[in-house]
Symmetry: C2
Subunit: 449 residues, 2 copies
């Protein structure tokens, strides 16, 4: 029984997971370049030990890929497990209660960067695979592909898939990188939002100016940047960029009715993130707003004097990182160009604006009638004792849409995250009981397939 | 002759000035606390050597004061020279062509933080004084007061003046901390703007959130902050805070006519700071906008992810440092409260806003009929061969208004700065020929008084 297997092997399993977490594989920071290879190598070792016939670290245009496979029967169907070994930066570091790269178990949760996203969740896939191999229960083939650039938009994966389409050939893709509604509301993700992400640089005067001598007579680049960002959304929460909603798929009354049935306590939601009011597009519920409708967020802003006390300066430059979440049918590159052009259009006189498109990806929808979706439902039912709800989520895994385009294969999103896991935030964590149930559910999926 | 004196002594004088500049007396940064005392001590030594009867470093509520005096005749009138020995931070350090605290002479300019503001300019006063003492030309008394907190709003000077009003008793105050229109357009500053300065903190969720999972459903604190800052000014460059203009003194037609006669080349102005268009309040000229009308500037902004690449985050907090320049009759504390209340009023739902008033000060106007103003005119005429133009400037030296309130004395602003001196900016500098002419002009002032 899988439960017994987990109990017997848990100490070793945790040490294996911790060995992955301890490598600070932050893909967005150049100084961690060597850690990327180190983490890929460690995954290769672990997948071999788990029972793969072969496992390799393969070069890509960017960080290396980890590929592994267990071919039990060339005639049988093949499941391709996708995950990523890179993690988000840890800032603001001062808010972490323990070292982000030294996992600590407190109150039954593993605290560390990557404990959930996506080292913890990918590890669930590896351990379910290990159980099936060690007990000779695998009747189909399993392949693994782990990349090291998911958090920076998977810039190399599409080309890698195209080059290695034969190697990656599969009937279904399985991914653990999403969340459930809550610990007692198991759910399967049937849709994801797309993403476009830009960096904006506003330049005013050719040097920082004394705000007393020049204030009132020149356009201040921070003032200008704020005016531009402020205009991107209106008071009803709508994005004002012309053409932005042209391809947005309207939610059908049926879908809205299904969404309305998802148990959701808005007061609890507000409490859990410490806000007094929700805010979003007029006419939509919170769940619709954060999963089925587009959104605009400024993810970072900086310029001028940010130290202690006061400095009276009109800075030469101001910067922002801005992003939109997109819904199915919106094209990330089209939106990328649309927003960049609009920013130039609304730039105040007296400043110049440079917009760099950093990355993007498309949304995704998976039909709930797919046999692999049904197998995933069974796995969840066995582990959680409940049939999981199909839900669309607000996050983006652009590569899921790319897999469909390049490999022609649908993806099943068996995610075991919880909102309280604080991914991308300080004190990211993963509950041990979700690690156990996750392994049970994935074993159930494979057995039901 | 003063010209000969300067020539003979220039090498020593420069070494003295450099010894002041080499002490990084940045008042806004706590780690420079010890440098403040060091710089004050160095000034004390130099003023004694220049000919003061006595010179002392005196405690204040904040950084120490330097006081010195030469009493030639208790019955004669007294000139109180005010200056400051603290300097601005040096960020962005990477734009400096030489170490900001190791003065370097290039093309006849001294490059260093404080070369102009205000170590260089205060030094002019000290060297003019030295010449007069060494040559027995002083027929009135001279006192010096140098503070170490001007760049952070002189928080201790008012209390110090109140406590030491007898010591500081004077008939006129003389300050070199302002600029001339240009090297060949000598001018005397007859008015200054006031200032109010705040730090704004916007808090949204209690932790950084994943922008995919939450984007569209919660108010993003950066979006909120941008909307608030954007609203403070309208499209015609007017400040929208209710009541803001209530006490603004309208410019008289006579004053506007006088301002219109100041030679000003807008194309050159734009070129010198590298902008394509000026921007400001509709209906006013550039000179009016930057000296006689209020202004709103965001001097710094920060929040969210500001590192390399992309992080998809809704930050918990966003911050800005904002300031307004005020004109005579506006009260800095009243405006302080007005803007703070308005920010609360326009804060979007779903975020909380904290506004800290960092500091402020009042504007100032000096009548051009004052005998000491006439003496300053003569000093300038002798040094520059031209009668200086009376002009109002956009900067703030709040203590000038305080001197008038507390000590009951008018101030003459004999400033020798140039726009190209880049005060508060990287590569601050001071031309050697202005140092020489400045000393000549101040000597002329004393002899004409």
């Amino acid at each position: 029984m899988i439960k017994d297997y987990i109990q017997t092997n848990e100490a070793r399993m945790l040490e294996e997971l911790f060995s992955l977490i301890r490598i600070p594989s932050i893909s967005s920071e150049h100084e961690h370049k060597a850690d990327m290879l180190k983490c890929a190598e460690r995954w290769r070792e672990l997948l071999l030990a788990a029972g793969a016939d072969k496992a390799e670290v393969m070069p890509s245009e960017g960080n290396p890929m980890v590929y592994a496979e267990k071919i039990v029967n060339p005639e049988a169907q093949t499941v391709l497990v996708y995950g990523h070994y890179d993690v988000m930066p840890v800032e603001p570091i001062e808010l972490w209660k323990s070292d982000p790269f030294e996992p600590e178990v407190r109150d039954g949760h593993i605290f560390a960067r990557g404990a959930d996203d996506d080292k913890g969740q990918s590890f669930i896939q590896a351990k379910a695979f290990e159980y099936l191999v060690k007990n000779n229960l695998l009747t189909h083939n399993v392949k693994f592909i782990l990349e090291g650039e998911e958090e920076i938009g998977s810039p190399s994966l599409e080309a890698f898939c195209k080059t290695h389409s034969e190697l990656l050939k599969a009937d279904i893709i399985l991914v653990s990188d999403t969340s459930m509604l809550s610990a007692d509301l198991p759910s399967l993700t049937t849709g994801l939002r797309g993403l476009s992400y830009w960096q904006v640089e506003v330049t005013g005067p050719n040097r920082d100016l004394h705000s007393g001598h020049f204030g009132g007579a020149v356009m201040n680049p921070i003032n200008a940047l704020c005016k531009m960002i402020a205009q991107i959304t209106d008071e009803s929460g709508k994005i004002t960029v012309p053409g932005f909603y042209d391809k947005v798929e309207d939610l059908s009354p049926e879908e809205r009715a299904m969404i309305a049935q998802i148990p959701f306590d808005e007061e609890k939601y507000k409490q859990s993130i410490g806000i007094t009011d929700v805010f979003g597009e007029t006419g939509y519920s919170t769940i619709e707003r954060n999963s089925c409708r587009p959104a605009f967020d400024c993810c970072g802003i900086w310029g001028g004097y940010t130290g202690e006390g006061a400095k009276t300066v009109i800075p030469s430059k101001a910067y922002a990182k801005i992003s939109t979440r997109l819904v199915p049918h919106q094209n990330s590159e089209e939106i990328g160009a649309l927003v960049a052009a609009h920013l130039q259009c609304i730039a105040p006189k007296g400043v110049t604006v440079k917009v760099d498109y950093l990355h993007g990806g498309e949304g995704y929808v998976c039909p709930i009638s797919h046999p692999a979706y049904r197998a995933a439902e069974k796995g969840f039912e066995q582990a959680f004792g409940k049939r999981p709800l199909p839900v669309r989520r607000g996050g983006s895994i652009p590569i899921i849409a790319t897999f469909e385009q390049v490999l022609g294969v649908k993806t099943i999103l068996m995610g075991f995250g919880l909102e309280s896991n604080a991914i991308h935030s300080p004190n990211e964590n993963f509950p041990l009981h979700m690690l156990r149930k996750g392994i049970e559910a994935v074993v159930g999926f494979h057995l039901a397939l």
